[in-house]
Structure formats: C-alpha cells, structure tokens
C-alpha cells in the first residue's frame, strides 16, 4: 500500500485516503482537431515500465488533485507536485506540450 505525500497537506498518508485519477499532463486538444486526434486524446494513454506521471486526488483529505511521478516497477514515488507545474515532467523524458 502506497504512502503518498499530498503537496497541499504536506504529510505522508496512506493510499487509502487517495484515489488514482489517471495519467497526468494529458493536454486536451482544441475541438477543431480531426476525429483521429480527438480519439487519441480520449482513449490512448502511455503504459511505461518505469517512470510514470499520474494524477491522484486526496479524496479523504483536502480533495485536491496533484501530480505524482511513480516508478511502475518499484512503485517508488519519485516526485509529488501541484497541478499546473510542468517542469518536473522532464523526469519522464517527454517534452512539455
């Protein structure tokens, strides 16, 4: 069971307080994109073996969403940072959109 530090509550808490909310840094495209591009946004997510940027929400705490970089093999949490911050995305070797 993961131990996550909410970047707003600043205390390590058990996974039971949180909900997973999908991959982070998915940019919602403008509505004039093609059907294929829109479907890519809707349905396709990366599934890396290793570092993964994802969103969690502190459901039983401050109810705020935040970003986590987690290693999908070791489950080590490599970074935790608020929504809106993007610089740490370089951790996964993916250029900011």
């Amino acid at each position: 069971m993961l131990l996550l530090q909410c970047p707003h509550c600043l205390e390590a808490r058990s996974e039971e307080e949180f909900d997973y909310a999908g991959e982070a840094h998915i940019q919602r495209p403008a509505t004039d994109v093609s059907d294929a591009e829109w479907a890519d946004y809707l349905y396709f997510r990366s599934n890396p073996q290793g570092r993964h940027c994802e969103m969690w929400v502190h459901t039983a705490g401050c109810r705020r969403y935040f970003n986590v970089v987690r290693d999908t093999v070791s489950y080590d949490v490599l970074a935790v940072y608020p929504i809106g911050e993007r610089e740490r995305e370089s951790l996964v070797g993916k250029p900011p959109p």
């Binding site: 993961l2 058990s14 909310a21 509505t31 969403y65 489950y75």
Partner: protein
C-alpha cells in the same frame, strides 16, 4: 512419562512435571507444556499423520516450523474449528482436539494410480470431454485434504490495529535480536515480530555459546533489554504474513490460539497493520530436503528438524539415524543425536573430502562417515526401515557403485538452506541466485535491510554481525544516530564449502525409479518436472502451473528450489537463469477471522440512513440498497405483496397525494463569481441564462460524449447554484467537477461543497399536493401562476425554514420540500398529518420507478450504461450547441461513429399481452423464426419493465437499434424459460405526453 516412548529423559524446553492430555484423530495422548502438536505426536511414536494429496501415501512430520508440508491438521470442532494448521506450529494445550486434515484422502487410489495421474493431470483432464472432468472433480475435491470449514458463526473475537514505527524487525532469531538491540538503543520506535511463542529462533534449539554464555541465556538477556525500551513493541506468536509497498506490513498475532476458545471474552487473533519507515528482514532460512527415491516415507525428516525435536522438545523421533548431507551444518544433527544417547548408523556425505571441523568432530566421536555417498532410496512401507546408500561421482549426478542397504528408522537430510525470501518477493523484488550460498537470496529494495540466514549467512556469528549492521543502517535511514557495537563471539565451528546437490540419482532413470518427491504437499515428483520440461514447459512459471509445484498451502517452502534445480538440469541451464517463481501474501495461511476483524455483521459496510429512517422502519418499509443508502422500496400493508403495494402507491400518487423521501439525492452547493460559467461548460445544456429562483434539468457527459449523470440544478442566487445528482453517483460527480475545476479551468473562481447530508428532501406528489402543502405553508404563494413548474421558493413549512422546488420525477403536480436534516422528521410528520384527511400515502423507490417509466424518464445507470449519448436517449432538447466555451463531451458527439443510424436508441415497448411484464435485461431479437438455429442477431435489450396500474398494462423501456425509426413495429423478446414475448415499439412517454399534470 508413560505413553511417550520417544521422549528423552532430560533436555529441551518442556515441562516434564505435569503432563497434559490431548486428542488426535480420536485417540487421547499425553504431551508436555512447551510441546507443539507435532513434537507431542512424535513423542508418542505417532509417525503417520496424513495421507498424501494425490496418491494417498502415508506421510509423517518432516519439519519443525512454517515449512511443514505434511502435518496439516484441523483443530477444534464445529464453529470453533480451525482448518489448515501446521502441527509443527500448533502449541499444545490441555484438552486440544486435533485431526488429520487428509483423513478423507484418496484411500482408494493406491500408489499404482501414480501412472494415471501424471504432471499436467488437471490440464489434460480439462482438455478432455467435460463430462470426464465432472467425474474427476468429484473424486479430487473429496480427496483435496484441506480440512473442512467451520460449521456455524465464529464465536471468537478478532481485532485489527494500526501501528507505526521507525524500524520493523521481522524475525527474532540471532540476526533479528541483534538488529532490534541496535535500533532500540538508537532511540528508534521498533516493532519486533516472531512467529514462535518464544524469541530466539533457531537459538532455542542450539547448543552454541554466544559471548561466553549458552545461546538461550544470551536470548533472555537480549529480550529483557529490549523490553526496557518504552518505544519497543515485542510481538511473539506473530507471523509477518504480508510485506506490501512502501513498507506496509500485516502481522498476524495469535493471542489465544494456544488455548481453548474464549468464545469472544478475549481476542483470539489480532492483525497488526504496520507502517514502518524501514524494515529489517531477518526471516531466517529453511533447510532444503534432498530428493531421492521414496523420500516421502514417514521417518525421513529435515536434519534441522531432528535437532530441533531433540534439543528443544526432548524428543528423539527414532533410534537409529542415517544422515544424508551435502554440507557441514548437517553434522550437527548427527552429533546432537549421539549426545541424546541414540545411535548414528552412518553419515552419507555427497562430498569427496569432508574435512571441516564438524565432520572431524563426528569422526572423532566414532561416527561412520561415508564420503562421496548419498541415500538413493528409503526403504519401508509405513515407516523407514532402511536406507539404500551408494557412492556418487564428484558431480553427484551418477552412481559409482550399487546401492547397499543400511538398516535404520530415521533418515535426516540436509541439502543446504533456502533463505526465507518470501516476504521480500511479495512486493515484486525478484530473489537472486547465489552460487556461494547455494540458494536464492532476497533481492535489493529501498527501505529493506536483510540480515542473517535470509542473505545466505550460515553461521550464528555472521547472523549476529549482519543483524547489528542492518539494525544500524535501518535506524540511520529512519533518522537516528547509532553507536558502534562490538562483534559478538561464538564457539561454533567454521563451515566448509557445501556441495550444490539437489537430487540423489537412482540406478533406474527418474521416470522408472520409485517416486522422488519434490513437493510433498501436492505430490509433485522429479519425474513430473522432467515431463513438464519434455512437453515444452520451459518457463519456471509454466512448469509450476503444469505440475502444481508450490501450489499447496505451504507455497513450496521445501520443494520450490529443488524443483527449479531439476527443471534447470532437464533444460541444460543454470538455476539462476531459470529463476524462481514469486511468492504472494500470506506467508503462512491467515484466518478470515483475523482479516475481517470487527468488520463483520452490521459493521461490515457502513449504512447511510436518511433523517426519516426510523419513521420508515415504523411503517414497515421494505428496504432497497442504493449505494450505501437504505431507501424504502415500498410500504406493504398487511397481506400485500410488492406488486399490490406498488400498484396502490402508484394509484394514490396519480389520483390523490403521496410522499416520498428523496433525501438521498446528491446535492452539491456551487458558489462563486464563475459558478454560471462553470456549470455552462460542465452540462450539455445552457446554464448562463437560467434565472434566479428557476430550475433546469441537465445531463452531464464524460468527455467521450456518453451520459454520466443527470439531475436538476437550481439557481439560488447570482453566484450560487444547487446541483442535484443521482443517489449512487454523488461522490463521483463531485470528484468529476473538482477534476475539471482544478485541472482544466483553474482560472474559474468557483467552489464546490457536498451538502447531501445537510438537507432532507420530501417530495409531495399528486393532484392534491398543493392543497396539502398549503395547510402547513403560509408564506409561499403556491398558486400555479405565482409558483410555476421548474421554480424554486423559500419560506416555511410546518414552521421550519424550507426551500421548495416545483420539480417532478413522477409527472404529477409535485413539490419537493427541502429542510435542514435535523428538523426533517417534524416536517415529514406534519405533512403526513396535513394530508391524512386526503389519504396521503408514503411511497418508495419501486413506485418512483414505475411513475417515472410511465413518463419515459430515464434512470442513469439503469437505462444507460456509459455507452449512450443524449441523442441515443432522445435528450437532444437538453443539449445546447454553440456555447462560447462548448461543454464537456461536445467534440465527441461529432465523431463519425456517433452518427450511425443503427445505434441503440431509447424506445418504449407495449407487450401484446398487456398483463405480462418483460423482465429487465431481456434481449430483443430480429427474427424469432430463425431462433431455432441458435444464431439470431440481437437488436437490443430491455432496460426497465413494470406493470403500470394506472395504464392497466405492462410497459417497458428498451434500447433498440435504430429504435426511433421503428415505432409501430413488433419485436420479440425470448426469455430463459423458453417463452417469447411480442411487443410493439412505441414512444417512451406512455402517460401525459404534454405534461399537463405536472404543469397543473
């Protein structure tokens, strides 16, 4: 000591002054305090304790701890029964009742059956005609030998508790105690757990000296020092059964299992949920048996187990010992046996030149040591009578002499040690093969500090040193400073190199030799594993599943590594290359009682009650579970079934006045300068121009354009809205709104608060609703013009501040009265009193469903399943395109697939037989005449089906391909009882299509 023929006159940690009695398989025996069930049975000369899983062969005690594969017993009877216990870990108490789990084994299937039950038996049977499998399943299930479940509710009490610590020490043997001492002295909060009743691990059965004291004394001193620390928790009889991510551990403490049931007076077991900053894994190692022919005969035991019974329990399970070993450590057993006054007939050492200190000591003691020798076969029927011994080549893979027979009644074997890597591998860390340790050792992981035999350490001195180092590194990682510790000296002999040998070859090839067992619990032999390799199961994971190696309740603690070695040899690969399978929690079986704890009965899952719950209960409401809510489903009068009650409630709602508790609907208070803009983007409909005091129905889509939720939103003020959600979706909708607010539109100034529990809602419904409400509400003009449909007014109802909404989910004139939850019962009762002259009737969810279906109103989650667009459901009127910022899901509605004319669309169905209700879930087929062929295209399915008392006929809502273009057609619904119902496709609004009643 009468009746305990195998008990030694002195020695061991048992109390000989007052024997206690116990029962096993119906016979009464005597044992001693300090015994385990296994040691007591051995003391009584009971060698056959089980029949094997597949072949019904007699089996005896092999080990002395968690690794025991054979002596699996059932304790107690009736509701107290505890199946699947290892006799080697069951502490004996006066009056204990035990039974062999495998007493109902396949006694009919004698050994000859071995050839018809080869490896992959289950797979091969599953591939055979299914009728055959039914036969085998009957036979196998009866013979599974895993005990019987308790009969009746468990009278015992189980607890769960949370613990937090800096350093969790798993195992309190030499390494664990050394680690705990260092960590505790640093000031860290330490938890020490050990599965045995006493701390000390293998030191409890050791003749060694540590720091010039007998090992047992050193243990006593270490434990007493640890007990002086306030922040150290010592948990004996506590098995760490699970090690999960980020150092979360589950520890099963057996508080009262070592005595008769207390029937709930004291906790029987406790599950500690421990979150540790750092973990010291000092779980030790389990001796590896050697694989040879008939090695499952009772009287073949692990060498360490023989030593343990002699030294710890004062039991000699035989007279004449032959020791088979590949290493120096095994010689300790020969010396222990001789010290106990028993005869060591021979030591068969596979190595060419055993010249270490222990082999020398054995020879000096006059013990016959056969070098380059192995035990190739055990001889006997129900018990060992002799060992066949032959000389081996240097590699140990071929015999260089014919076997000769040596009479004996006990064969102890030592094939090296398997580090107990189970916990470390539970989080996905693969164990690593070590040529030096000749075993898989724990892989590296952050926050895990391994010490002692689990790393392959062989001597107590090494274990003590590693323990102190691991305790220090764990404490430092948790932020504590540690002092240097002096290494502790022991008087143990150094150990020479062991030989990596797993199987003693037989003169006949494996498939023809007597069975060479690898996994004793599941009767997997070396021949089975070779067969699996020949049949192409090269991956260890596949071979495991094909042969069932390691599938028993012991998870292959004894057999796995030998099995992997045999597979590697058959494939011509290195053991490290083949790798090991993974271990899962629990390390040893855990009871459901401990896992459940107090979360049983009423506490199993919390229930949510509305403020009027007690009133409903008093009226005899029948409940429906909606999410966690208890909602009244209907209120039967004496003699009424559900259909009769619902018909009555429906008629009253349509002709008089009725009332429903709608408090469970989700309510979200949306406030802020941008509240309107926010809702306009979230909902498919337009919300910018909704006037203050007005209500609007809205559908919420996921970004894929599919309906997610629906409900009525009220504008309470310029910057304040109240959003209603469906009962089951309230939490999900709030999370969804927060997701968009926080991640996509952080620029919007808007705040969301759940107020579901703060307000109680009562819907006053029916043509007489205005009249009845008017009797208890004087400050709101309820007139049709002053208070029109879809409006909101504030005032007082029964003297209580109330918010009244003129909205309707029934299609009738309806007022939904919202008051503070704490005052709801008084208002509800006042309304009931006000309507009593008009026959006001409470109604439940079932009537609500019928009323809304008559009006063609959908229920999200019943009529939709996450694959329906507003267009599919005929809700285009609730969608507004061309808004400045669009809305969530709008782009998806333009996707090509969403335009198909043959998408499922909501329609109504009128059965040709008006009295027959179509069951929900019924399929709609295209061509009833082709059904006999078994293949007929589906056209759709029924989502709601009721009998409408108002319309005096059955009605249904259904999703039908291209449905709106098929009005007037007849469709067919085949049922599972063979009947086929015909129905006409109609508009989904069955009643009052122009809404005159709700607008009245």
């Amino acid at each position: 000591m009468t009746g305990q023929p195998r008990r030694l006159p002195v020695g061991g940690r048992v109390d000989r002054t007052s024997p206690i009695s116990f029962t096993f398989d119906g016979r009464t025996y005597q044992g001693l305090r300090g015994d385990t069930l296994a040691s007591a049975l051995l003391a009584n000369g009971v060698y056959v304790v089980a029949r094997s899983f597949k072949f019904g062969r007699p089996r005896g005690v092999v080990g002395s701890g968690a690794e025991e594969p054979n002596a699996i017993v059932q304790l107690g009877t009736g509701a107290d029964a505890l199946p699947n216990q290892r006799a080697t870990q069951v502490e004996l108490y006066d009056g204990l009742v035990g039974a062999s789990s495998a007493a109902h084994g396949l006694r009919g299937l004698i050994d000859a059956a071995r050839r018809v039950l080869p490896a992959g038996f289950y797979y091969k049977m599953l591939m055979a005609p299914p009728i055959l499998w039914r036969f085998w399943e009957q036979v196998l299930r009866r013979g599974a030998g895993l005990g019987t479940v308790p009969q009746g509710a468990d009278p015992d009490r189980y607890d769960k508790l949370n613990r937090h610590c800096d350093v969790m020490v798993v195992g309190a043997g030499a390494a664990g105690l050394a680690a705990a001492l260092v960590a505790a002295r640093s000031g860290a909060r330490v938890v020490v757990a050990d599965e045995q009743d006493a701390f000390g691990g293998s030191l409890l059965a050791s003749a060694l000296h540590i720091d010039n004291r007998p090992a047992a004394e050193w243990v006593v001193d270490a434990v007493s020092e640890l007990r002086t620390f306030e922040d150290v928790v010592m948990l004996p009889r506590s098995t760490v059964v699970g090690l999960y991510d980020h150092n979360f551990l589950t520890v099963l403490e057996r508080c009262a299992d070592h005595g008769p049931s207390t029937s709930g007076a004291a906790a029987r077991e406790r599950l500690h949920r421990v979150r540790a900053k750092e973990v010291v894994l000092a779980a030790g190692a389990i001796e590896r048996p050697l694989v040879f022919a008939n090695n499952d005969l009772p009287g073949v035991m692990l060498a360490s187990a023989v030593s343990c019974y002699v030294n710890r329990y004062g039991v000699a399970p035989g007279e004449r010992l032959v020791l088979a070993t590949t290493n120096d450590a095994g010689y300790r057993t020969a010396l222990d046996w001789q010290r106990a006054g028993r005869e060591v007939v021979a030591v068969a050492d596979s190595r060419a030149d055993p010249s270490g200190a222990l082999p020398r000591a054995a020879r000096d003691a006059g013990i016959r040591v056969l070098r380059s020798h192995g035990v190739v076969e055990a001889v006997g029927h129900a018990h060992v009578r002799a060992a066949r011994v032959a000389s081996l080549n240097t590699a140990g893979d071929a015999l260089t002499s014919t076997a000769r027979r040596i009479n004996c009644d006990l064969i102890a074997c030592s094939g090296g040690w398997n580090p107990a890597v189970h916990l470390s591998s539970q989080t996905g860390t693969r164990p690593v093969w070590s040529d030096e340790a000749v075993g898989f050792v724990a892989g590296q992981r952050r926050g895990l500090h391994c010490a002692g035999a689990v790393t392959g350490a062989a001597t107590v001195a090494e274990c003590l040193g590693q323990g102190a180092a691991a305790g220090a590194s764990a404490a430092r990682a948790a932020g504590f400073a540690t002092d240097e510790t002096e290494p502790l000296a022991t008087d143990e002999a150094p150990l020479d190199a062991q030989q990596a040998l797993f199987v003693i070859p037989h003169s006949r090839r494996t498939s023809r030799a007597p069975p060479q067992f690898v996994d004793l619990q599941l009767d997997v032999t070396a021949a089975d594993i070779e067969l699996a390799a020949r049949e192409g199961y090269e991956s260890v994971e596949h071979a495991k599943r094909y042969t069932a190696l390691g599938f028993g309740t012991d998870q292959g603690k004894l057999g796995n590594v030998n099995g992997i070695a045999i597979l590697a040899s058959a494939l011509g690969r290195e053991i490290g290359e083949v790798g090991t399978t993974m271990f899962r929690p629990a390390y040893t079986p855990a009871t459901f009682g401990a896992i459940a704890g107090r979360d049983v009965g009423d506490l199993f899952d919390p229930e949510r009650h509305t403020p009027m719950h007690v009133w409903h209960e008093a009226q005899g409401a029948v409940w429906e579970d909606v999410g966690r809510w208890k909602r009244p489903r209907y209120y039967p009068k004496p003699g009424e079934d559900m259909d009769a009650a619902v018909a009555r409630e429906c008629i009253v709602a349509r002709t008089g006045v009725a009332m429903m508790d709608a408090s469970t609907l989700g309510k979200i208070d949306v406030q802020g300068p941008d509240a309107a803009r926010f809702l306009d983007r979230i909902y498919a409909g337009g919300f910018l121009r909704l006037g203050v005091g007005r209500c609007r129905y809205g559908v919420m889509l996921k970004d894929d354009g599919m309906i997610f939720d629906d409900g009525v939103t009220v504008r309470l003020d310029d910057e304040r809205y109240l959003v209603h959600t469906t009962t089951g979706n309230a939490e999900a909708v709030l999370a969804w709104l927060e997701l968009w607010r926080q991640t996509e539109w952080p620029d919007l100034d808007v705040y969301l608060t759940s107020v579901t529990d703060h307000w109680a809602t009562m819907a006053v419904v029916g043509p007489k609703a205005r009249e009845v409400l008017g009797r208890v509400c004087s400050d709101i003009d309820l007139g049709a013009d002053a208070f029109p449909f879809m409006a909101c007014r504030e005032g007082h109802v029964a003297g209580v501040r109330a918010r009244v909404l003129r909205i309707s989910f029934s299609g009738e004139l309806s007022f939904e009265v919202n008051v503070a939850a704490g005052q709801a019962v008084a208002v509800w009762e006042a309304l009931m009193a006000a309507g009593s002259a008009d026959g006001i009737t409470p109604y439940g969810t079932e009537t609500m469903h019928v009323l809304r279906a008559e009006k063609g109103y959908i229920i999200v989650g019943q009529d939709t399943d996450g694959s329906m667009t507003p267009h599919d459901m005929g809700l285009d009127w609730a969608v507004r395109h061309g808004k400045r910022h669009g809305f969530v899901g709008e782009r998806s509605l333009a996707l090509a697939d969403y335009q198909r004319a043959d998408r499922l669309q909501l329609v109504g169905l009128r059965t040709v037989e008006p009295a027959t209700v179509i069951p929900e879930g019924a399929q709609i087929v295209a061509d009833v005449y082709r059904m006999r062929s078994g293949r007929v295209p589906m056209r759709g399915f029924v989502t709601s089906g009721y009998y409408s008392a108002t319309l005096k006929r059955s009605i249904a809502l259904a999703m039908l391909k291209g449905g709106r273009g098929r009005l007037g057609e007849t469709v067919h619904c085949p049922l599972d009882n063979g009947n086929v119902l015909a129905a006409e496709v109609v508009d989904p609004v069955f009643y009052d299509p122009d809404g005159e009643r709700q607008n009245a």
